[in-house]
């Protein structure tokens, strides 16, 4: 069936089988490989994307379910002004080791600080509790999301 999904601000129209998973549509259909596939069993969260601003596992949603909706992937975080505060903070705070979970962690972090501009340590840990980092680099991921929140607030204030 024909679907149109707004991915990172541009409409993508495609004729897809109903069984096509959103993650495959993003990676193979739209060619955006920043969204990763890890466990493929709804356990690890590396396929996280934002659908209408809400983080979901794109391996556990059909592409047809996203018809008419807005999807943000890691490629959509950067704006004309440069890196998103979470991207800058993950770089500054060494919030990644192998980098496989990083796109998902950054999207969850971006959604969290949109909702809660000053998250506590516990709130960040709670928000990323559906996302696995197999390098176990959680300390710096938490620090990076908090640094991003602080940077986003000070940008907003200025």
């Amino acid at each position: 069936m024909e679907i149109t999904i707004n991915i990172n601000g541009s409409d993508h129209t495609a004729d897809v089988e109903p069984r096509l998973l959103l993650v495959d549509h993003i990676r193979t259909g739209a060619g955006l490989t920043g969204t990763h596939i890890g466990c493929d069993t709804t356990s690890c969260g590396v396929c996280t994307v934002l659908v209408d601003g809400t983080p979901v596992k794109s391996c556990t949603m059909l592409a047809v379910q996203a018809d008419g909706r807005e999807v943000t992937t890691v490629e959509g975080l950067k704006s004309a002004d440069g890196l998103h505060p979470v991207q800058q903070a993950f770089s500054d705070e060494h919030g990644l080791q192998c980098g496989f979970c990083t796109p998902a962690m950054m999207l969850v972090g971006a959604a969290l600080i949109d909702d809660n501009p000053d998250p506590s340590d516990d709130e960040v840990r709670w928000a990323i509790s559906g996302n696995l980092c197999r390098c176990t680099g959680y300390m710096n991921i938490v620090k990076a999301i908090q640094a991003a929140a602080a940077a986003a607030s000070s940008n907003g204030d200025s």
Binding site: L20, L21, T28, K57, L62, G130
Partner: protein
């Protein structure tokens, strides 16, 4: 487009199915009736889609209900909490309308990403004995509202949950809401869940609900257990022990022992049956203590 092996490599894809996005409950029911038991409703999809990817479920048609307006209401109404078919776990966790065992369980359903899509009504209809919500519903005495071609009916949760992954819906019926009683007097509830990690099924879960009479004694009690029997199981002996008595640590320990005796856990990767019974006893006591504190507070 035909997805072949060359294109998708070793990707896990569900078997082929027809798909319709229903615009109304009536349309959804008609599509379900036409397809029979090979047709499944798709709400949050957080249990169904993984089962389809593993080919444990191979429906010939999916009826997507996500675009039906009016199913996402969560509100207190006529002495009960109404939870519509499209209310996500995250909506419940964030709602100011919920209390007791419902409020206590919502943040412990799976993980935050699953909570953003998965629905209470979908989980209830799925009847996985490792699902948390049916214990909460059994403890609180909830009703499932089903709609079919000839109208709606309310089904007591005890009659709705039939067996392992089996509910009592007719083939042409859809769960449109769940109604959870909100007592007018003093009441409280709690859900205690032991999980190995966020997102894992409960090793043991216990839901408790208490109502207090004017003299402070327990006038109504509900206790139900997750992951320790072939279906979510009510601990009826424990409930009977509680009613008519004043809340106390001794009483709750006795009820915990009765719940443990009613549990039928199995040895598995999450622990031994003997240990799980001990967890049931301890968690029943804790859930009842939390429920009593809330009711008294």
């Amino acid at each position: 487009m035909c997805a072949d092996r060359d294109e998708w490599g070793s990707r896990m894809l569900p078997a082929q199915f027809d798909y319709i996005a229903a615009a109304s409950v009536e349309e959804a029911i008609a599509a379900k009736a036409e397809g029979g038991d090979e047709t499944r409703f798709l709400a949050g999809g957080q249990s169904l889609l993984p089962m389809m990817k593993l080919r444990f479920a191979t429906p010939s048609k999916l009826v997507d209900i996500n675009r039906i307006a009016g199913l996402d209401a969560i509100r207190s109404h006529n002495g009960h909490l109404h939870v519509g078919a499209l209310v996500r776990h995250a909506d419940i966790a964030a709602s100011g309308a919920v209390s007791g065992a419902v409020a206590s369980a919502a943040p412990w359903i799976s993980d935050p990403l699953v909570r953003n899509l998965g629905t209470l009504c979908g989980s209830v209809a799925h009847c996985d004995p490792e699902g948390d919500w049916n214990s909460v519903l059994l403890a609180t005495g909830a009703e499932v509202v089903a709609q079919g071609p000839s109208g709606r009916r309310a089904i007591d949760i005890g009659d709705f949950v039939q067996d392992f992954f089996t509910n009592s819906l007719a083939e042409d019926e859809m769960v449109v809401a769940v109604h959870i009683p909100v007592p007018s007097g003093r009441s409280g509830g709690s859900y205690q869940k032991l999980e190995r990690k966020v997102g894992d099924y409960a090793t043991v879960g216990v839901a408790a609900h208490l109502e207090l009479a004017a003299d402070g004694t327990i006038s109504a009690a509900g206790v139900a257990m997750t992951s320790v029997a072939p279906i979510n199981r009510k601990a009826t002996e424990a409930e009977a022990l509680l009613v008519g008595n004043a809340p106390s640590a001794e009483l709750f320990a006795e009820a915990g022992a009765a719940a443990a005796a009613a549990a039928d856990p199995r040895d598995d990767v999450r622990g031994s049956a003997r240990w799980k019974r001990q967890v049931v006893a301890a968690f029943t006591g804790r859930a009842l203590a939390a429920a009593a504190e809330q009711a008294q507070g």
